[in-house]
């Protein structure tokens, strides 16, 4: 975890409160402008007409503290802290139902991910949000060899909340695991050796390059 060669860690390193303070200073009382300027697809927030179709279409709507419609309204109302520390946009499963239905054609899924990423970059994302945690584990796992190692990923995930919980979850998921092994969807050897993909080195290079670009961008903050 101390290996800074991973771009995500670069971002994580950047996500210091200094960046956050700079942004607060730059966009005083203009959170909407901040979002428009810095969040991926953020300029679309202007175009929401508050019909609420996204909120009604979200299959996980009940799990969200603030549905997309509200998030957009909160951005317009300048509720910076509330939006960026919210776990709502982390609940998005990218089912794209909202994008399909939005009468104003807002790329809502992308805006949600954009907001989550921006909050993460500024170090405001909720630390223990499970989706966020899993996303990071998955990234670490897949960037090592260019291919996901289901065994280690599973183990890290199960033991995320302590040893006892890990054992409990592992036992519960045992039949699934065995079926995956049987159908060759997962190799138990992954525990000791994971072959990864063919162009493992190219992937590493590619990620390195991406990290450089990202770091150059980060300098702004």
């Amino acid at each position: 975890m101390n290996d800074t060669s991973k771009p995500i860690d670069a971002i994580r390193k950047m996500s210091m409160s200094a960046g956050n303070t700079a942004m607060i200073e730059r966009y005083r009382n203009h959170f909407l402008k901040e979002v428009t300027d810095n969040v991926e697809e953020g300029e679309w927030v202007n175009m929401c007409m508050q019909c609420g179709v996204c909120a009604g279409s979200c299959p996980l709507g009940n799990a969200w503290a603030h549905p997309p419609q509200e998030i957009f309204m909160m951005i317009r109302a300048g509720k910076r802290e509330e939006v960026l520390t919210s776990d709502s946009m982390w609940m998005c499963t990218s089912c794209y139902n909202c994008i399909v239905r939005c009468p104003r054609k807002l790329p809502i899924t992308h805006i949600m991910h954009g907001l989550a990423r921006y909050a993460e970059r500024l170090g405001l994302a909720p630390k223990n949000q499970p989706t966020r945690k899993f996303a990071m584990m998955f990234w670490d796992n897949i960037t090592k060899t260019g291919r996901a190692n289901e065994v280690t990923l599973g183990i890290r995930l199960y033991f995320m909340h302590g040893f006892v919980n890990g054992i409990k979850t592992a036992l519960k998921m045992l039949p699934v695991g065995l079926s995956m092994i049987k159908t060759k969807r997962m190799s138990p050897l992954g525990l000791v050796a994971h072959s990864g993909c063919k162009g493992k080195n190219d992937i590493t290079k590619l990620l390195k390059k991406a990290r450089e670009i990202e770091e150059a961008r980060m300098k702004k903050y």
């Binding site: 202007n46 175009m47 007409m49 508050q50 309204m73 909160m74 317009r76 109302a77």
Partner: protein, 735 residues
């Protein structure tokens, strides 16, 4: 043509009529009972040879009353539109064979229906006269336009270009009205992204330079007398001079006044110079020439502005308008763009409860505002107050469901529009109001201004006939008719002008205007019988009837729409039309055969409005919706024309039930004569007493509101009535 009435009855065998009905038996009926001098059948009456056969009889045999037993009177109107004769129609296709099953056990009752209809058509023809046009018709190509705003100017230029002479009477010193004081207008053309020039200056220029347009500014209407084709109008100038001119038609384009909300403390209007109305912002922007607007209080450049929508509108609270003024949302977007276009860093927030941007480009314009960074907040404003060198707007955020506050430099209130529609003639005190309170100062018995429909607007029917007012030849256009913006106003004025031109042309030929457009008949009355009861003059929905010195009715034919409401109102039955009278319907009722009580064949009379109910019945027939064979349908011009004598006669002669089918009444009326259906319902509500004196059950007479779409409901209502009769038993009054 002989003066004597000679009936020719023509029976069609086409469309299955020949297969389903015994045509030779019907011929005997037409001859013996219908007293037709000539009776002929034809395989396809509406084809060229059939029509030629009838025309030949008219030309050589002296037939002047034609009874056609074929399809509905709504079908084949061109083929059977014979000139200079009276034509009646027996509806054997839509009224009989298409609504009855083709089975042996039903053959007898189906034939009975046809027999009645043939007899009825013959007798109707006998009691009809081919109408002569109104002899007093005059052709006057002058159009009076009251009001010199966008609607009046548009109307004037459109009429002038169409070759008519126009006189504009404008109260103010200048033409252009409110629109002339606007900085820009909401865009009318694609891409609907930015405010555009109002074009009012060009419009004023075009009107001022047109040789067929005369403009009277600082003037008002002192009196309007007459009727379409011969309006006599006194135009009084502020200077005290007066001029009398005659006009063919009048267009009222008196526009609106901004709603005064200074009495509503919640919006804080007039408590601070930084709380202004939309109109005041237009004036400020115009004065600034589009530069960044300075705050009225201290001249500081405005850095943030909040627009409060529906300020004093769309609420039933005291002092609020209960309607939506339609233009304000688009106007606020436009005004927010004034700021954004001058400097994108200016905060512009539009606080709305429901954003409404009507018109083709409305959504595009809304989107354009969003692109420019105008913020839209769904919220309900609870207070606007000057505070600490700015203005505080408190509102409830309706999405986040919380009370919140915004501090801005300037607040713009969307205060809405109130029509300049003159006197409310339904208000009993209106007669005492001074001349200046009225716009048209009509000499009509029914009041000095146009009747108002709702909220003081002179609207007619929103969808079916928007420009028609209840004063023939006088049309309302623009925001006086209903709230609208500049683009809609121009369209509206053009449409109303066309209607005014139609009125001029129809008046010249002595023909009716909408909806019986082209009808040459008009009501006449027998003075000997008249009791001067004034019911006709009061109930005429169109103010067509005045009173003379002895209180006898004076009919103004060209104001009349030929609905027959006067005929229905007249208790002594002295009012009639050449081709539609108490007799022409009454005799049909008398000629319906009433079987004896023990035949168990009840008879239901249906009087169906020809505008909605009758076409609905025809459509039901086209869909082969079956209904009881015991009903006999007589179309009427309007339920308002139904005279109570028809009902009492029908019941006295042994009818078991009477159904009256009119249009929807009330505020959202669909009655083509506006008040006809309502009057009929009111009159029929008193029919119960008559029924009780005849010791009949009150269920025997029913009145229904029918829409043209009630294709399935109508047959159902007929069948319900038939089962009601079955339940309560046959009428005891059969002989």
């Amino acid at each position: 043509m002989a003066d004597e009435k000679k009936i020719g009855a023509y029976l069609c065998k086409g469309c299955g009529l020949g297969d389903r009905l015994d045509i030779s038996a019907l011929k005997v009926v037409a001859e013996r009972e219908g007293k037709a001098a000539i009776v002929r059948e034809h395989d396809f009456l509406c084809d060229a040879s059939g029509v030629a056969m009838i025309q030949a009889d008219i030309d050589t045999q002296g037939v002047n009353r034609v009874a056609i037993a074929a399809c509905s009177r709504r079908a084949k109107t061109e083929a059977f539109g014979f000139a200079n004769v009276a034509v009646s129609r027996a509806n054997l296709r839509e009224g009989v064979i298409w609504v009855r099953p083709d089975t042996d056990e039903n053959r007898e009752t189906t034939q009975e229906m046809a027999t009645d209809y043939v007899r009825m058509a013959c007798v109707e023809a006998k009691f009809m006269n081919p109408p002569d046009a109104n002899k007093a018709a005059t052709y006057n190509r002058q159009l009076l336009v009251v009001g010199g705003g966008v609607s009046g100017l548009t109307s004037a230029i459109e009429a002038a270009r169409a070759g008519y002479n126009v006189t504009i009477v404008e109260k103010g010193a200048e033409l252009g009205g409110i629109a002339a004081q606007l900085y820009r207008q909401v865009p009318e053309h694609s891409p609907y992204s930015d405010p555009q020039d109002t074009g009012v200056a060009e419009l004023i220029n075009a009107v001022s330079n047109h040789k067929n347009i005369t403009v009277h500014t600082r003037s008002s209407i002192a009196e309007t007398d007459g009727a379409p084709g011969r309006f006599v109008v006194q135009i009084a100038a502020e200077s005290g001079t007066s001029e009398t001119k005659t006009f063919g038609a009048i267009l009222q384009a008196t526009g609106f006044t901004a709603h005064d909300i200074s009495h509503l403390p919640v919006y804080g209007y007039k408590t601070s110079p930084d709380i202004i109305t939309q109109f005041e912002l237009e004036q400020l922007t115009k004065a600034a020439g589009g530069d960044i607007i300075k705050r009225p209080s201290d001249g500081k450049q405005v850095a943030s502005v909040a627009f409060v929508q529906c300020a004093g509108q769309r609420s039933e609270q005291e002092g609020h308008l209960s309607y939506c003024s339609g233009h304000c949302c688009s106007t606020s977007i436009k005004q927010a763009m004034y700021f954004k276009n001058a400097n994108p860093a200016i905060d512009t927030n539009i606080i709305y409860t429901d954003l409404r941007t009507p018109g083709a480009g409305g959504e595009d314009f809304y989107r354009s505002g969003q692109h420019k960074g105008v913020t839209f907040t769904k919220g309900q404003v609870t207070s606007v107050k000057a505070e600490g060198g700015g203005v505080s707007v408190k509102f409830k955020d309706l999405i986040l469901n919380e009370d919140t506050e915004e501090k801005v430099d300037l607040v713009v209130l969307a205060n809405g529009m109130v029509p300049n529609s003159g006197l409310n003639i339904d208000d009993p005190t209106s007669a005492e109001k001074p001349k200046s309170a009225s716009i048209l100062n009509l000499t009509y018995r029914q009041g000095r201004d146009l009747p108002q429909l709702k909220y003081g607007f002179n609207d007619s029917h929103f969808i079916c006939f928007p420009y028609e007012t209840r004063r023939t030849g006088i049309y309302a256009a623009g925001p006086v008719r209903r709230p609208m913006d500049i683009a809609q106003t121009k369209e509206d004025a053009t449409g109303a002008t066309l209607k005014a031109i139609q009125a001029i042309e129809n008046a010249a030929l002595g023909r009716a205007a909408h909806p019986r457009s082209g009808d040459l008949s008009f009501p006449s009355f027998k003075k000997e019988g008249c009791t001067q009861c004034k019911r006709c003059t009061v109930e005429c929905p169109f103010g067509a009837i005045d009173e003379d010195a002895q209180r006898f009715p004076v009919f103004n034919e060209s104001r009349c729409r030929r609905c027959g409401t006067c005929m229905g109102a007249c208790p002594v039955r002295v009012i009639s039309f050449e081709n539609y009278s108490v007799d022409s319907v009454g005799q049909q009722i008398k000629n319906i055969d009433i079987p004896e009580e023990f035949d168990e064949k009840p008879r239901i009379l249906m009087l169906a409005c020809e505008n909605d109910a009758y076409p609905a019945l025809d459509m039901a027939a086209m869909n082969r919706q079956e209904y009881s064979a015991f009903v006999r349908v007589i179309p009427v011009r309007c339920l308002g024309s139904v005279n109570l004598i028809w009902i009492t006669d029908a019941l006295n002669s042994g009818f078991d039930g009477v159904m009256m089918m009119g249009c929807k009444k009330g505020d959202n009326y669909q009655c083509h004569f506006v008040k006809g259906s309502e009057l009929a319902h009111m009159r029929m509500s008193k029919v119960d007493d008559t029924l009780k004196t005849l010791s009949l059950e009150t269920e025997r007479v029913v009145t229904h509101e029918i829409a043209i779409t009630d294709i399935h409901r109508l047959p159902q209502l007929i069948n319900e009535m038939a089962s009601t009769i079955l339940r309560i038993g046959m009428s005891p009054l059969k002989f």
